[in-house]
Point group: C2
Chain length 128, copies 2
C-alpha cells in the first residue's frame, strides 16, 4: 500500500510549499517549505517542522522564539502541489518581526504599506 | 523610485507563490503562481490572473468556469517570498473539482481523506 507521504507531489528539489493558517483567527501566517522528513516529523511531533531553503536544513518552528505551531490539521490540495497546515500559534506571533503574520504589508495605491502592529519587540523574542 | 512590482522577490523563474484566501469565510482556496505580468494584470483588473506552470501561460482565474476571484486585498510577506490574495470568490467555488477550496483532503490516521463536499458537478461548470 502506498504510504501517505508517497502521495505528496514533491517537486524536483524534494520540496512542497506549505501554507500555515491560524486555526482560531483564520489568519494566514506564513508560506514555508517542507521536504519529506519535515512533513513526517511535523505529523509525528504535532508541531510544525519546515525545511529552511536559505539555511539548507530542517527548522523546527519556534526552536529559538518559543513560537511553536501546534498542528490541528494537515491538508493536501487537489493538484497545485501544496499543503495547508492549520495550527494553534503559540504566543500569537508567527513572524520574526514580532507580528502575528508574515503577511503584514498591503498594497495601497501602488505602495507596499505595513498595516499590522509589532506585538512583541524581536529583541525580547530572540534573547539567545 | 522603485516600483512596487520591483520589490517583489521574483524567483529564478520569475515567479512567486500566491496564497489565495476567501475574504468572507477565511478559507484558504488555492496556492498558485504569478509572474510579474500576472500580478500587474491582477491589480489592474482587480481579478486574479495566475501563471499556469503546467500550461506555460497566463491564466485568468474563472475564464472557463466563471468562478472569478475579485481581489479585495494584496499582501506581501516579510521574506519568505510569497503573496497573499484575499478575494471574493464568485460562485463560492475555487476548485476545478467543484469544491469551495482545493484543500479538500485531510490527513486522518495516515490517510488523505476527502472531507469537503462537491458543491457543483464539474460537468455543469465546464460546459465548453
Amino acid at each position: 500500500m502506498k504510504e501517505w507521504l508517497d502521495e505528496v507531489p514533491w517537486d524536483a528539489q524534494g520540496l512542497i510549499p506549505v501554507v500555515t493558517q491560524d486555526f482560531a483567527s483564520g489568519r494566514v501566517l506564513t508560506l514555508a517549505w517542507m521536504n519529506r522528513e519535515a512533513l513526517k516529523k511535523t505529523v509525528e511531533a504535532g508541531e510544525a517542522v519546515y525545511w529552511s531553503r536559505s539555511r539548507g536544513k530542517l527548522w523546527r518552528k519556534g526552536e529559538e522564539s518559543g513560537h511553536v505551531q501546534k498542528v490541528r490539521e494537515v491538508r493536501l490540495d487537489c493538484d497545485a502541489d501544496a499543503i495547508l497546515l492549520r495550527v494553534e500559534q503559540v504566543g500569537g506571533i508567527a513572524c520574526h518581526t514580532g507580528r502575528e503574520s508574515c503577511f503584514f504589508r498591503k498594497l495601497e495605491n501602488g505602495r507596499w504599506v505595513t498595516v499590522d502592529p509589532v506585538l512583541k519587540d524581536p529583541s525580547l523574542i530572540y534573547t539567545k
